[in-house]
C-alpha cells in the first residue's frame, strides 16, 4: 500500500544546511497519516485487544470499506479537474438498484445487468458534464441537483423497497471469496486505486487533467482540450460510482434506494484528508485509500469503546472540515477556487 511516490516531486529544501530538516518535514507530511493510523490501531488494540485487534475485525474493515475507497477514487478523479461530483453516492444507489431490478425483477442475466449499471454511471457523467461544460454552471450546483434527481428516480423505480435475491455469483466474487482472509472486493479497490495512480502520474492525459484542475486558462492556452477532459473526468467519476454500486449490490445481495447515499460525505472527507498525505497537495489515490481506513479505524475504535453510532456522523462531518483545513495548510493557504 505504500506505493513509491516519485522522489522528485517536491523541493528538497532550499539550501544544504536545511535540507535534512526539510526532508524530515516532508517525510512527516507524506507519511504522517499512516503513522497516526498505526498509533490509532495500537491504542484501540491495547484498549480492546480481544475484539479490535482480531484478524476477523481487521479483514472485515478492509473488505467493508472497499466500497468507500472506490467512491473516494471517483471523487478525486473529478476533483483533480477541479470539479465536484456530489451525485456520485446517488449514482451508486441507482446503479445497485439497476443491477437488482434488472436481474431480480426482470430476470436479465447478471452480466447484462452489470453492464446496464455501468451505463447508468456513464450517462450521469455525461449529463453532469453537459450542464457544467456547455452551460458553464458550477459543478457543485449541477451535481447536487442531478444527485437529488437520481435519488428520486431510485425511489420511484424501486417503489422505496429493498430488492433482494440478486444472482449469488456477484456476492461470491465480491465478498464471499477471500484471499488471505480478506474479501476480494478489497483487492478490486486496490487495483482501481493503482489504475488511478497510473493514469494520474504516468500518462499524458493524467498530467493534462492536473493542469486543467490547477490552471484552467493556462491549460486552455497550452492547447489542452479542457472541456473535453472535464467531461471525461465527470463520466469517469460517474462510472466509479457505478462500480461501487455494483459491488454494493454484491456485498448485500440486494439493493435499496437510500443506503448508498451515506457514502458521499465520508468520500469527500477521505479525498481531502488523502490530499494531505503520500503526495501532499494533490488529490491522490493512495493518500485517499489510507484516509478511508484512517477514518473508519477511528470510528470503529470509538464504537468498540462504547460510543453510539451517532459518533459516525460527528466523526465524518468533523473530519471533512478538518481535512479541508489540513489540505489548505498543505497547499500553502491559497484561495480555494470552488
Amino acid at each position: 500500500m505504500t506505493a513509491q511516490a516519485p522522489t522528485d516531486r517536491r523541493p528538497k529544501g532550499r539550501s544544504a544546511p536545511g535540507s535534512s530538516l526539510a526532508g524530515l518535514v516532508l517525510a512527516a507530511e507524506r507519511f504522517g497519516l499512516i503513522v497516526v493510523l498505526m498509533i490509532l490501531i495500537a491504542i484501540f488494540g491495547a484498549l480492546r485487544p480481544d475484539t479490535f485487534l482480531t484478524w476477523q475485525n481487521i479483514s472485515t474493515i478492509l473488505g467493508s470499506q472497499a466500497i468507500l475507497v472506490i467512491v473516494t477514487l471517483g471523487v478525486i478523479v473529478s476533483l483533480t479537474a477541479n470539479d465536484f461530483d456530489l451525485s456520485i453516492a446517488n449514482t451508486l444507489s441507482l446503479s445497485s438498484l439497476t443491477v437488482a431490478i434488472l436481474n431480480v425483477n426482470h430476470g436479465w442475466p447478471l452480466g447484462v445487468a452489470v453492464a446496464a449499471a455501468l451505463a447508468v454511471g456513464a450517462v450521469v457523467g455525461l449529463v453532469n458534464g453537459f450542464f457544467i461544460v456547455v452551460f458553464r454552471i458550477h459543478s457543485l450546483i449541477v451535481t447536487l441537483g442531478v444527485g437529488t434527481f437520481l435519488h428520486g428516480i431510485g425511489l420511484w423505480a424501486s417503489e422505496s423497497q429493498t430488492i433482494s435475491g440478486i444472482d449469488p455469483f456477484l456476492s461470491d466474487i465480491v465478498i464471499v471469496k477471500r484471499l488471505f482472509g480478506i474479501p476480494l472486493i478489497f483487492y478490486y479497490a486496490i487495483l482501481l486505486a493503482a489504475l488511478v495512480w497510473y493514469v494520474f502520474e504516468y500518462t499524458a492525459i493524467g498530467r493534462r487533467i492536473l493542469f486543467v484542475g490547477r490552471g484552467r486558462e493556462v491549460a486552455r492556452l497550452s492547447g489542452v482540450h479542457t472541456d473535453r477532459l472535464r467531461w471525461l473526468c465527470l463520466v469517469a467519476s460517474g462510472m466509479f460510482g457505478s462500480v461501487a454500486g455494483i459491488f454494493y449490490a454484491g456485498t448485500q445481495g440486494a439493493a435499496d434506494p437510500v443506503s448508498g447515499d451515506s457514502y458521499l460525505l465520508p468520500a469527500l472527507a477521505a479525498a481531502f484528508l488523502g490530499s494531505t498525505s503520500i503526495l501532499p497537495g494533490r488529490f491522490n489515490p493512495w493518500g485517499s485509500t489510507v484516509a478511508v481506513y484512517f477514518l473508519v479505524t477511528g470510528i470503529t475504535g470509538l464504537i468498540f469503546l462504547g460510543f453510539g453510532s451517532f459518533i459516525q456522523d460527528m466523526f465524518y462531518g468533523g473530519a471533512l472540515v478538518l481535512a479541508v483545513t489540513l489540505s489548505q495548510i498543505v497547499r500553502g493557504r491559497q484561495e480555494q477556487s470552488f
Partner: protein
C-alpha cells in the same frame, strides 16, 4: 507642475541636512539559510521622494515587508522614525501608528463599493465608532481628494474609475491615514504603483506624489522602471543581492549608472542578428483580422523577423496575439502560414499549436504558468507525448529535459522540482519561453514579454527571442515597453483605434519615436471625432 517645481526648489540643496524621517540601520533577514537582506541601511529625509530600486530578489520587497510588519528581521537591526526608536519586529498595527502607510500594486480597493466607502475602509476597521455621519464623511473625503487635486466623485463606484483614478484614490487614502495617525510628517510607501498605468497617467500620479511630498510627508517609491524613478525621486537607494549598493542623488545620476547599479554588470545593448535580413517572400501574412478592439488589420511577415505591435491602451495591438492564437474569438480574418490559409475565426489554441504557432501570454499568473506545480510539469506541458515511453511517462526523462531546458534558457535556480512560484518573475518568464520555444514554432506570439521581468532577466529573454528568429521563427510581440521594442524589434507597428497607423523600421526604432507616434496618433484619432479640423 508649478508647485512641484517649487517643492523641488525647496528641497534640492538642503536634502542632506534635512531632518531625517526614517533611519533603518543594519537590517538583515534570513529565509531558510538564505540571506534575503544583508545589513541594509536606509535613510529617508523629511519631505523627500526616495526611490528603492533593485531586481527581483534584490531584497527590496523583503525590506518593505519588514517595514509593514509582515516579516520579523534578524536581530541587530534598528529602526528610528522621526528621531524616536521603534521596536523591531514591528508589532501589528504599529506601522500605522508610526505614520507608515502603504500602497501596494493591487491597491486594496473594493471595486463594487463607492469611492467614499473605500476611503473609509481603513478607518472603519481601525476605530470603534458605531454610527457613521455620512454627510461629514463625504465632505471630509471630498476635501481630501481636492487637497491633492484628484477629481473623482465620491459616489462613483470604484469599478467605474480609470486605472489611474483608482491608483490616485489609493494614494490619497493612504496619505489621509497617515494624517489621522499623527500631526505631521509620515511616510508613504508606494510599492510599484505604476506597471498597469499608461505613461500619460503616470504623470498625473506623479503630480499627486509631489504634492504629498510638498505637504511634508516622505515617500518611498519602489519600482522597476528606471525612467520613472529618475523622474519622480530626489534620491535613490539601490539594492542588489540583499545589500545596499548605493544611495544616489537622482539629479546627478545618469540612467546608465542606475542600470549598472541594479544589474551589477555592464549593461550591454542586445545585439540584433537580423539587421541585414533580406526581405524574403512573406511566409506569414494576416489579412483583415478583426475582433475585440482590432478592426481589419493586415500584416506581412518575413522569416526571422521580429515585429513589435504597440500603441496606447485600448488601441487594439494587445488583442492581436490572442486573436491569431484563437484564445479570443476573432470575427474575421485569415492567416496564411507556410502557404496554407487558415480561417482565424475558427482557430483554437490546440489548432494553433498544431500549425506551429505558440502564444506566451502577458498575464503570467493566470494564463501562462501554474505556480503551484513544479517547474518540470510546467515546462514539459506541451511535449508530454515525447516523454511517454511505452507504458508510462518517463519521470527521469522529464527531469532531464527540464534541466537541459533550464540550462539553455538560464533559469536560476535550475531546480526543476521546485514549484514554479518559487522563481522570480524573470525566471518564470524564462521557463515560459523554454516551454514553448522547445517546440520550434514557426510563429511566436508574445504579449508583454518583459512585464514583471527584472533588468537582468530581460537580456536573457531578448537573447532567446533572437535565438528563435535565427532558426527562422517569426515573432509578433505586443508590448507597451518601448525600450524593449527598440532593443528587439525589426519593425514596429503602431496601433490606434484598432488599426495600424504607422510603421517604424530599423534605424528609426527608438523609444522616443515610438512614444511620439503613439501619442501623435491617439490625438489625431480623438480630434477627428471631436473638434473639426
Amino acid at each position: 507642475m508649478t508647485q512641484a517645481a517649487l517643492a523641488d526648489g525647496n528641497r534640492s540643496g538642503a536634502l542632506e541636512s534635512a531632518p531625517s524621517m526614517l533611519e533603518l540601520t543594519n537590517l538583515s533577514k534570513t529565509f531558510g539559510g538564505q540571506r534575503a537582506l544583508d545589513g541594509a541601511s536606509l535613510s529617508i529625509a523629511t519631505g523627500e521622494v526616495h526611490g528603492l530600486l533593485g531586481q527581483n530578489g534584490s531584497g527590496k520587497s523583503t525590506l518593505i515587508k519588514i517595514l509593514a510588519g509582515f516579516h520579523a528581521p534578524d536581530p541587530g537591526g534598528e529602526l528610528t522614525i522621526q528621531g524616536r526608536p521603534a521596536p523591531l519586529p514591528l508589532p501589528p498595527g504599529a506601522a500605522w501608528r508610526l505614520g507608515l502607510s502603504f500602497v501596494h500594486q493591487h491597491l486594496g480597493l473594493i471595486p463594487s463599493l463607492s469611492v467614499l466607502d473605500n476611503m473609509m475602509l481603513g478607518r472603519l476597521s481601525q476605530d470603534r465608532r458605531v454610527l457613521i455621519g455620512w454627510g461629514a464623511e463625504r465632505r471630509r473625503c471630498e476635501a481630501a481628494l481636492q487637497r491633492y487635486g484628484v477629481e473623482i466623485r465620491t459616489r462613483a463606484a470604484v469599478a467605474s474609475l480609470q486605472p489611474v483614478e483608482r491608483a490616485l484614490l489609493a494614494i490619497v487614502r493612504a496619505v489621509e491615514e497617515i494624517g489621522e495617525s499623527r500631526s505631521g510628517g509620515g511616510i508613504l510607501v508606494l510599492d510599484e504603483p505604476t506597471p498597469f498605468l499608461p505613461k500619460s497617467d503616470v504623470e498625473t500620479l506623479f503630480a499627486v506624489v509631489r504634492r504629498v511630498a510638498s505637504h511634508g510627508a516622505s515617500v518611498i517609491f519602489v519600482s522597476h522602471d528606471v525612467d520613472e524613478v529618475k523622474e519622480i525621486t530626489d534620491r535613490c537607494t539601490i539594492l542588489r543581492d540583499g545589500r545596499v549598493v548605493a544611495t544616489l542623488t537622482t539629479a546627478t545620476t545618469s540612467k546608465q549608472e542606475f542600470v549598472e547599479g541594479i544589474v551589477g554588470r555592464k549593461f550591454e545593448r542586445h545585439a540584433r542578428g537580423s539587421q541585414t535580413m533580406q526581405r524574403a517572400e512573406a511566409s506569414v501574412s494576416v489579412e483583415e483580422l478583426s475582433g475585440q478592439s482590432v478592426d481589419g488589420v493586415s500584416l506581412h511577415l518575413s522569416p526571422g523577423e521580429v515585429v513589435g505591435l504597440t500603441g496606447l491602451v485600448g488601441s487594439g495591438y494587445a488583442d492581436v496575439p490572442y486573436l491569431l492564437y484563437g484564445a479570443r474569438k476573432a470575427s474575421a480574418g485569415t492567416l496564411a502560414l507556410n502557404g496554407r490559409r487558415i480561417d482565424v475565426t475558427r482557430m483554437t489554441p490546440a489548432r494553433a499549436i498544431g500549425e506551429g504557432i505558440v502564444l506566451i501570454p502577458g498575464d503570467r499568473a493566470h494564463s501562462a504558468a501554474i505556480g503551484a506545480l513544479p517547474i518540470v510539469d510546467n515546462v514539459t506541458m506541451p511535449v508530454l507525448e515525447t516523454v511517454f515511453r511505452s507504458f508510462a511517462l518517463a519521470r527521469g526523462a522529464m527531469m532531464r529535459l527540464a534541466l537541459e531546458l533550464g540550462q539553455r534558457f538560464e533559469v536560476l535556480p535550475n531546480r526543476p522540482a521546485l514549484p514554479l512560484s518559487a522563481l522570480s518573475g524573470g525566471n518564470q518568464q524564462k521557463v515560459m519561453l523554454a516551454k514553448w520555444l522547445q517546440t520550434r514554432p514557426s510563429l511566436v506570439l508574445l504579449d508583454e514579454p518583459t512585464q514583471g521581468v527584472d533588468v537582468g532577466a530581460r537580456e536573457a529573454v531578448f537573447a532567446q527571442i533572437a535565438a528563435a528568429t535565427a532558426q527562422g521563427a517569426i515573432v509578433i510581440c505586443a508590448s507597451s515597453d518601448y525600450e524593449q521594442l527598440e532593443q528587439t524589434a525589426d519593425r514596429v507597428l503602431i496601433f490606434a483605434g484598432g488599426k495600424i497607423v504607422a510603421e517604424l523600421r530599423i534605424p528609426f526604432i527608438t523609444k522616443s519615436a515610438i512614444a511620439e507616434l503613439c501619442y501623435a496618433h491617439s490625438e489625431s484619432v480623438s480630434s477627428n471625432e471631436g473638434v473639426p479640423a
